[in-house]
Symmetry: C2
Subunit: 357 residues, 2 copies
């Protein structure tokens, strides 16, 4: 029937009020007489009116929202992908008059992150996105952010903090999946060494727990020889240490079949395995150029990819919608998609923002 989409003008005409009043009803910015309220609501219903978001965006532009973002910047393809997600979100929100202010720490420096948050607050942001460098500090993060500034976490949760919501992978289940993948590539023998960065990261612990739990429950032939906590404070140190630790493990255990690396250090572990020339397969995480090469050569069996660009893009958009009141928070944790990547699925994998326009 009503072929053309109806507008706020139509609603105003039908209910016999001005468009300003309709707008008040729409966003309950209050003080509308009961009769008019009722009439407007009825008209909205009758015309099944839905506000034009584009028009809204254009005029709301003037409000000049600021969103702050802080994350630990790592100089590799994972960092590049995060940058791509941020850039995409920035461009998408630009015409809405949103200013996205980005700060980052180099490596996992917690005091730096607290400083970056202060700096963002000083610049007058209306909300924050935080990719925490360290999740044991929920309290201190809470303390650095005023109550009236909402913040959301990405990738790594800040459990027990005042965060509005968290967006990231389900690390325990990811650990379980990793164990399953390892078992699929094994025959009778399945001796595994786990390499994880030594950190208080909850995500890492969850992955290890998930892995071990799955092995115990369902994979009788799997034997976890060792769980190595890599020392380090920076990505460079981790990179060095994972390489050396891998070689060391190979020397100490004569019977390793698999390494499971709980994060993007997968590449350097695979480098060491390649160097050793042992028939060992590596399983791990993320999807950088180096990991792709090891997948192609068969040293890495499979990797679980958490699509960082999409997580950031999604988090930024979500916070924006929350700030302008277009979205309510219904659940505190949103689990994001992860992909299983193996040699044969390389042709289908989209990195960065992929096909998402």
């Amino acid at each position: 029937m009503a072929n053309q989409q109806s507008t706020i003008k139509d609603v105003a005409a039908l209910s016999g009020v001005s468009i300003a009043t309709v707008d008040r009803v729409l966003h309950n910015r209050g003080r509308v007489s009961p009769e008019k309220l009722k009439a407007v609501l009825a008209a909205i219903d009758q015309l099944s009116y839905r506000p034009n978001q584009i028009a809204r965006a254009l005029s709301v532009r003037k409000s000049n929202l600021k969103i702050g973002l802080t994350y630990p910047k790592i100089e590799d393809d994972f960092g590049v992908e995060i940058g791509e997600g941020i850039e995409a979100a920035k461009n998408k929100l630009l015409p809405f008059g949103v200013e996205l202010i980005v700060e980052h720490t180099y490596d996992y420096n917690f005091p730096d992150q607290v400083n970056s948050i202060k700096s963002l607050l000083n610049q007058g942001v209306n909300g924050l996105i935080i990719n925490p460098v360290n999740d044991s500090s929920s309290q201190r993060i809470d303390q650095s952010i005023p109550n009236n500034i909402p913040f959301v976490t990405v990738i790594e949760d800040l459990i027990g903090s005042r965060r509005l919501l968290h967006i990231g992978p389900d690390d325990f289940r990811i650990g379980e999946l990793a164990a399953k993948l390892v078992s699929l590539y094994s025959n009778d023998r399945c001796n595994v060494v786990i390499l994880a960065p030594h950190s208080t990261s909850n995500g890492t612990q969850q992955r290890i727990s998930g892995f071990l739990s799955k092995a115990k429950k369902e994979i009788p032939q799997m034997n976890v020889l060792q769980v190595c906590a890599l020392p380090g404070d920076s990505e460079a140190e981790y990179d060095r240490n994972v390489y050396e630790m891998t070689l060391e493990c190979i020397q100490n255990h004569s019977s390793i079949d698999f390494f499971y690396v709980t994060n993007g250090l997968t590449k350097r572990c695979a480098d060491a395995v390649t160097e050793s020339e042992k028939p060992i397969m590596v399983f791990g995480h993320e999807f950088t150029k180096g990991i792709r090469e090891h997948l192609e050569s068969g040293v890495v069996g499979a990797t679980i990819y958490q699509k960082p660009a999409q997580q950031f893009y999604y988090a930024i958009n979500l916070l924006f919608e929350i700030l302008i009141g277009d979205r309510k928070v219904t659940k505190p944790v949103i689990v994001t998609e992860c992909s299983i990547i193996m040699k044969e699925s390389l042709p289908f994998i989209k990195v960065g923002m992929g096909n998402l326009i």
Copy 2:
């Protein structure tokens, strides 16, 4: 420096012309004197001006673009997902004044599809999205569409047709991946029966070819006992026949370890396997409710999911951008993402439009 995003007004002011002239330059709708052209170009460059797409959308709204879409509607969750992708695209394009007109055939009826195309053309569409029911008919599709109406194909290509571009999975590689997955779940013995709808669908053929090629090249223990072409003309027939054929195969071959089903009929095959109580595992495609249940119970080992909602959403948006001149066609085929789904990755899978906002 230039903190605020510059606007068309700024460009006009800087180059000493009217905004109408800037607009002419922007979209080269011609007839601008060389001097002014140069001045405008310089100003655009100097201000690094980027048009506000939101504002553009709002005014371009009046042009009232129509996009037509036709696809074979199947009454299952796959069809529901397609509907979700279409709905999301429709809502996204609504404020741009785009009317998305959707027609569908029931099942794979080619004459019906030709009729639906005619009907869409009669309604004055400016471009078409076609999910072909049958790819042997590129010529007849070409003939039903005037040269000035661009069309793109989704999911199944119309090779040799005049389509502007194709958006869909890489079916040969998908077949290869399927063979790899089967081999991962096998131990020493790996006897496989392939079930495929009897149709002229090129996608199906590609998947089978990929599967066989991979098996031959890299999986010596794999033995393909039979490739069954299922008779049928409608989804209901296929559903019935795949069930019966599965039971028949189980009777005829005493040693089947795996079924590979080239499409969403996976569910009915798994039903029959469950019924037979044989220790046979099914591999297949898509991700409907029924398939999820079989993954949970372990009858289906893994499924490869082509995310139909996203393919449609993407195709519609792409055609829109092409029609308004915001995007050029650079490559004729766009390969979309596919996910490997196994029991352990169920927690991460987003169906429909997932987290894509």
